[in-house]
C-alpha cells in the first residue's frame, strides 16, 4: 500500500499549507472556506466556483438542451435544496437560458417511517414551504401512488399538450393519501425482513414514481441531489448488494434506464462538505426528515455501514471519495437485449444470464443440492431459496387486480404468482430484496403485470419453439 503511505506524507504537508494560506486562491480577499482538498476561497470566489462547476457538470454531459423541462426531485434535505437553489439562481441570472420550465417535486415517504397522518401533513407543509421559495411549480406526491402505476400507463405517449400537463400537475398536487394503498405499502414493508432490503425496495419504488411523475407532467429529465460522497458510497454498497452491473448507472451523471425520463445528478462533482458550505453561505434552508436508518446503528443496513465506512476512510485518506468515484466512472453498461432483458422492478439490465461457472450458478447449485423432491417444500429457518417456490396467496386482492384490457393480456392474481416466476424477470440485486419478503403477491401491480406478461410470452415462445428458425424473439 505504497501509494497510501505516500498520501500520509501528503496530508501532513497539506495541514501546513492550510495554516499558512489565509487569503483566497483567486483574489487577495480573506479566505472563508476551504474547498476541494486544500484550496482557500473567499465567499465570492467559492460561490462562483460552485456555480461554475454545477453548470459545467451539466454542460459537459450535453444532455440537457435549452428550454428542456426538468423535474427536480426534492426531499427538503441539503442536497436537493442546493440543486433547487442553483437552478433558481441560474434562472434569475439568465431568463432565456436552459431549464427554464422546471418543476420541483417531492415524494411524501411518511408511511415508511410510520409517521401519523398529522406528522405527514406537517412534513408536507414544511416541504411545500421550502419549495415555494424557488418560484417554480411544485407538487408533493405520496409514495403510495406507486400502486396506481400500471404497465399500460407506460405505453401511453408522453403528454405534449400544455393543457394535459396542467391537468396532470393539478392531479398530482391534489392527490390525497389513500388508506387502502397505505395499508398495502405498510404490509409490503412489514413483510421485508431486513432494513437493507427495505431501503432498496423504497428506493426502487421512489425512482419509479419520480419517473412516472416526470412522464405524466411532460418532463424529460429528473434531477437528483446525490453528491460525490453519496455516490462513492453507492459504488461500494451497490457492489455489496450484488448490483455491480448497475454501478455505472447509479453513479454516473445520467441514468437512462427508465427510457424517456433520464435521471441526472448535477451535484456529483461536489463532496458533501462543499454542498453544506454552499448552503451555509447562501443561507439555503433545508430540513432533515428522518429516514429508515436515521439514528440507527452503523450495522443497521448495508447502505448505512458503507456510508460510515467511506466517511471514516475519507478522514484518514482524503482521496478516497474521488478515487472510488473515478473507478465507478471507468465502468460501463452492458447493453441489455431488448425489452425482456431488463429487470421488471428496477429496469436495470438483467445480469442473471451467466456462465455455468459463476457466483450465481454456484449458489444455485448449493441450493439445488438440498432440495430433494420429498423435502423440497420445507425451508430452513424461514429462508426462501431460489429452488423452492414460496407461494403465499393473497386472496383479498384478487378482484381489484384485473387490468381488464380484454385482449388476453389480462392478468388476474387469482392464480397466485410464485417467487420462481417473478424472479426470472428480476436482476440479481432485486432478487435478493424480493427473497427477503414474505410473498411476491404484494408487489406493486406494474411489477406483477410485467412478470405475468413475460411469463406468457415465454410460454408462447415455447409453444412455437419447434418452428422458429432463429433464436430471435
Amino acid at each position: 500500500m505504497c501509494q497510501v503511505q505516500g498520501d500520509d506524507t501528503l496530508m501532513i504537508e497539506e495541514v501546513k499549507i492550510l495554516k499558512r494560506s489565509s487569503t483566497c486562491l483567486k483574489c487577495d480577499e480573506a479566505a472563508v472556506v476551504i474547498a476541494r482538498v486544500k484550496d482557500a476561497f473567499c465567499r465570492h470566489c467559492f460561490l462562483g466556483y460552485v456555480t461554475h462547476r454545477f453548470k459545467a457538470t451539466i454542460g459537459k454531459s450535453r444532455l440537457i438542451r435549452d428550454k428542456e423541462k426538468v423535474l427536480i426531485a426534492f426531499s427538503g434535505g441539503q442536497n436537493s435544496s442546493a440543486v433547487a437553489r442553483l437552478i433558481h439562481e441560474g434562472r434569475s441570472e439568465n431568463q432565456h437560458k436552459r431549464s427554464d420550465s422546471s418543476q420541483v417535486s417531492s415524494t411524501d415517504d411518511g408511511i415508511i417511517t410510520q409517521q401519523t397522518p398529522e406528522e405527514r401533513r406537517a412534513n408536507r407543509e414544511t416541504i411545500t414551504k421550502l419549495m415555494n421559495a424557488y418560484d417554480l411549480p411544485t407538487c408533493v406526491v405520496p409514495i403510495e401512488e406507486v400502486f396506481s402505476l400500471r404497465l399500460s400507463a407506460e405505453s401511453t405517449l408522453r403528454v405534449k399538450d400544455e393543457d394535459d400537463v396542467t391537468m396532470a400537475m393539478e392531479h398530482f398536487s391534489q392527490l390525497s393519501i389513500q388508506d387502502e394503498a397505505s395499508q398495502r405499502l405498510q404490509d409490503i414493508l412489514d413483510s421485508v425482513k431486513s432494513l437493507t432490503a427495505k431501503e432498496d425496495l423504497v428506493k426502487t419504488l421512489r425512482h419509479r414514481l419520480l419517473a412516472d411523475i416526470a412522464k405524466q407532467t411532460g418532463h424529460t429529465k429528473v434531477m437528483l441531489g446525490d453528491n460525490g460522497t453519496n455516490l462513492a458510497s453507492r459504488v461500494l454498497s451497490g457492489m455489496a448488494q450484488g448490483r455491480g452491473v448497475t454501478v455505472p448507472l447509479e453513479v454516473g451523471f445520467a441514468d437512462n434506464r427508465e427510457g424517456d425520463s433520464t435521471f441526472v445528478r448535477p451535484l456529483r462533482e461536489f463532496p458533501s462538505r462543499e454542498v453544506s458550505l454552499y448552503n451555509h453561505l447562501m443561507g439555503v434552508e433545508s430540513v432533515c426528515i428522518p429516514t429508515l436508518t436515521t439514528k440507527a446503528s452503523q450495522y443497521a443496513s448495508i447502505n448505512k455501514l458503507t456510508d460510515d465506512f467511506i466517511h471514516g476512510l475519507q478522514v484518514g485518506f482524503p482521496s478516497t471519495v474521488s478515487t472510488v468515484l473515478r473507478t465507478g466512472e471507468k465502468l460501463c453498461m452492458v447493453s441489455s437485449s431488448g425489452d425482456e432483458g431488463s429487470c421488471i422492478m428496477c429496469k436495470a439490465p438483467l445480469d442473471t444470464n451467466v456462465s455455468a461457472c459463476s457466483a450465481l450458478e454456484s449458489t444455485q447449485h448449493s441450493l439445488a443440492e438440498l432440495s430433494d423432491p420429498d423435502r423440497g417444500q420445507q425451508t430452513a429457518n424461514g429462508q426462501c431459496s431460489l429452488a423452492v417456490s414460496c407461494e403465499t396467496s393473497y386472496d383479498d386482492q384478487s378482484s381489484s387486480e384485473c387490468c381488464g384490457q380484454g385482449d388476453g393480456s389480462c392478468h388476474s392474481t387469482k392464480k397466485t404468482i410464485s417467487f420462481g416466476d417473478v424472479s426470472k424477470g428480476l436482476c440479481y440485486g432485486c432478487r435478493i430484496t424480493v427473497r427477503d419478503m414474505k410473498g411476491v403477491n404484494s408487489l406493486p401491480g406494474y411489477v406483477l403485470e410485467e412478470a405475468g406478461r413475460r411469463q406468457r410470452r415465454s410460454e408462447m415462445k415455447e409453444e412455437i419453439q419447434d418452428f422458429l428458425l432463429t433464436d430471435d424473439r
Partner: protein, 375 residues
C-alpha cells in the same frame, strides 16, 4: 433439542454460512466437496494428465485445498498429478513453523513437496529485508516476490498450472480493495477464476465460491492439521480496512460475499479506459506491465542499499533508481562498472554481494535522491 439435518433428517451439527441450512457432518462434507467439484468442472480448471502445483503455506486454506484436491482427484478421476509447492520467505517464528505443517501434510497426503526460498531465488530473506526497510511496506516485497517464487517453483517441478487456496472472502476483499485503490486493471481480472493465462503460468482458485467459514468448519470437523498464526510482520494496514468492512457486511447479510463476487463478475469496463499493456521484464523475462518488473525494481533498490526506492508508483520508482545510477556513475569514488553491471545483468542483481559496492555512499545518495523525488 436436536435440529434435524436438512438433507438426511439425522441430527444436524452445523448451520451452513452459505445457505443457512442445518446439516449433519456427513452431509456437510458431501455438499462442500461436491460444490468444489462443481466449480472445477464448470470452470474447466484442469485437463487430464496435467501436473498441478498446489500452493501450500500450511494455513487452513491451502491445507484443505490439498486435502480436497487429492480426494476429488481420486473420487472423480481427474487424472491430475498433484505436487505441493511451498515458498519459504525466511520469516523466523512464522514460516519455519508453518513449513513443518506442510511437511507433515506431505506425509499425511502422500504428495511430493517442493520448497523454494527467497534466499536462494533473490539472495534475501524476509527477515533481512525487514531489517533494511522496517515494519512498514515489507508486505510489498513479500507479495511481489511470492508471486514470482510460486511461478519459478512450479517451473522447477514441471507443473503446468498453480492452484491457490484463495477463498470467496479473499476475492470479495480484493474486489473491494481494487475499487478503493482505483486499480481498474486488477479490478477487471481479480474476479476471474483462472488468471495469468498469458505469459505466466495459469493460476486457478477452486475455492472461489467457498466461504472462509466453511473451510474452517471443514478443517475443524475433519481435524485437519493446519497452522494458524498471523505473520509476525505487521499486517497490511489498508487491506485491514477492506477486511473489516467485509466482515461487517457479512454480519448484516451473510450472502454479501458471494454478492460482491457476482458484482465483480458482472462489471464491464469502458473501452476507452487506458489499460496497462502486459509485456515482459527486460531483465528477468517475467511477465510485467513495465519495462522492468516490480520484483527486479525492488531487488535493485535492496541491492543498492536503498530499499524504499522501489516502493511506490512504478514510473516514479524507475526515476529514482535511474537518479541513483546517474549519481553513481558521475561519482568518481564509486567505480562505474559495478553499477552498470547491476542494472544490465539479471544474474548480478540477484547476487547479494553487489549491495556492498554502493553502500558507502548510500546515505549521501539517499539525501539527494529524496530531493529529486519531491519534485
Amino acid at each position: 433439542m436436536p435440529v434435524p439435518c436438512r438433507k438426511c433428517g439425522g441430527s444436524a451439527i452445523l448451520k451452513r454460512p452459505k445457505t443457512g441450512d442445518a446439516l449433519c457432518k456427513e452431509c456437510f462434507y458431501a455438499a462442500f466437496e461436491s460444490e468444489i467439484h462443481h466449480t472445477i468442472v464448470t470452470g474447466k480448471l484442469f485437463t487430464r494428465g496435467e501436473r498441478v502445483a498446489v500452493g501450500a503455506s500450511g494455513g487452513k486454506d491451502s491445507t484443505v485445498l490439498a486435502y480436497v484436491l487429492k480426494l476429488l482427484n481420486e473420487k472423480y478421476d481427474y487424472g491430475l498429478d498433484l505436487v505441493l509447492l511451498s515458498v519459504d520467505e525466511g520469516i523466523t517464528g512464522y514460516r519455519d513453523d508453518s513449513l513443518e505443517t506442510v511437511k507433515r501434510n506431505q506425509q499425511q497426503y502422500d504428495l511430493p513437496l517442493k520448497i523454494v526460498s527467497y534466499e536462494e531465488l533473490y539472495g534475501w530473506t524476509m527477515d533481512s529485508i525487514v531489517k533494511q526497510i522496517g515494519r512498514k511496506n515489507n508486505c510489498t516485497f513479500c507479495g511481489v516476490f511470492r508471486r514470482q517464487a510460486l511461478d519459478r517453483g512450479a517451473l522447477l517441478v514441471n507443473a503446468g498450472k498453480i492452484v491457490t487456496g484463495h477463498n470467496a472472502d479473499d476475492i470479495a476483499e480484493t474486489i473491494l480493495m481494487n475499487i478503493l485503490r482505483g486499480d481498474i486493471a486488477r479490478l477487471r481480472r481479480c474476479a476471474d477464476i483462472i488468471t495469468g493465462a498469458e505469459g505466466a503460468l495459469p493460476r486457478c482458485k477452486p475455492f472461489k465460491y467457498t466461504y472462509e467459514k466453511e473451510i474452517v468448519m471443514y478443517a475443524y470437523f475433519k481435524k485437519l492439521d493446519y497452522f494458524s498464526t498471523e505473520c509476525i510482520y505487521s499486517p497490511n494496514a489498508y487491506r485491514g480496512y477492506a477486511r473489516a468492512y467485509l466482515k461487517d457486511l457479512e454480519k448484516i447479510r451473510s450472502t454479501s460475499i458471494i454478492d460482491i463476487i457476482h458484482s465483480g463478475e458482472s462489471l464491464s469496463i469502458k473501452k476507452d479506459v487506458k489499460m496497462p499493456t502486459q509485456g515482459t521484464c527486460s531483465r528477468c523475462a517475467y511477465i510485467s506491465s513495465q519495462p522492468v518488473c516490480k520484483a527486479c525494481t525492488l531487488l535493485e533498490g535492496l541491492n543498492k542499499g536503498l530499499p524504499k526506492l522501489g516502493i511506490g508508483k512504478p514510473h516514479k520508482a524507475r526515476k529514482r533508481l535511474d537518479a541513483v545510477d546517474l549519481k553513481a556513475s558521475t561519482d568518481s569514488s564509486t567505480p562505474p562498472p559495478s553499477s552498470s553491471s547491476t542494472s544490465s545483468d539479471p544474474a548480478a542483481s540477484i547476487a547479494p554481494s553487489s549491495s556492498s559496492s554502493s553502500s558507502p555512499s548510500s546515505s549521501n545518495v539517499a539525501a539527494e535522491v529524496k530531493q529529486v523525488v519531491d519534485f
